[in-house]
Symmetry: C2
Subunit: 141 residues, 2 copies
């Protein structure tokens, strides 16, 4: 796992706690929140501690080992950067989350750079809206 190597190379210690957080991130299906990492860790290893989870995530973020995505839940979810980054469509009615092809955003990214000189970081992007199925059921906004 290159996370280990990178932290080590930067002069940080590879403590058991850090390895557990990194492991939890790698094992996670999709995007996982700090609290979820903690709960998972805590169930196997009751001495674990939420502060250290946050501190480890902070450290990993500093070196771009994880990306943060905000799905509009009032907290952020993490994802191992080396797994690649995804873009998401979040249905605000049923909560379903779909992955979006990166290519769908190429043009936008390009436009922003050309017309605004703005280098968009779309690794974090989650677009809210209404999915195909919910559109059929025409209720509520």
């Amino acid at each position: 796992m290159s996370c280990h190597k990178i932290l080590k190379a930067k002069g940080y210690r590879l403590t058991p706690h850090r390895m557990l957080v990194i492991e939890a991130l790698h094992n996670a299906e999709g995007h996982i929140s700090a609290q979820e990492i903690y709960k998972q860790l805590h169930s196997r290893y009751p001495y674990s501690n939420i502060s250290t989870v946050y501190r480890t995530l902070e450290l990993m973020e500093k070196f771009n080992l994880v990306t943060e995505t905000d799905f509009g839940e009032g907290r952020v979810r993490y994802h191992v950067a080396e797994k690649g980054h995804h873009h998401h469509l979040v249905c605000r009615r049923c909560g379903r989350i779909m992955e979006l092809e990166e290519s769908a955003l190429y043009l936008l990214k390009d436009t922003l750079l050309r017309e605004y000189g703005f280098e968009a970081d779309l690794r974090h992007l989650a677009i809210s809206g209404k999915c195909a199925e919910c559109r059929k059921k025409k209720e509520l906004p």
Copy 2:
């Protein structure tokens, strides 16, 4: 102010507190947070109360009288819907916020609908990245 009319039409009372919140939203330069509305209100009218600010915002959101935008600050900012909606480019280095032409997003919106059947709600969109000036100073990510 059509907010008033709409709430009235829906059978809600136009209490002084609600009128003050609506007024604060209308007077706000850009996007304003619940706490900012409260502070502003509180300074003029010390009896005001944060719960009612939240409850009023909740009510207004229910009828699409305000839109929520998340600028990645860990809280949401509100904007009167009838003022029109904007899209934003947020520089994660200097914090600058630029408005984005709606047209820049037409194509994306169209692609999402066509290829994913997803009706994107881009009223809330804030794209994070690095602005032109900060790109010149090539430090930090």
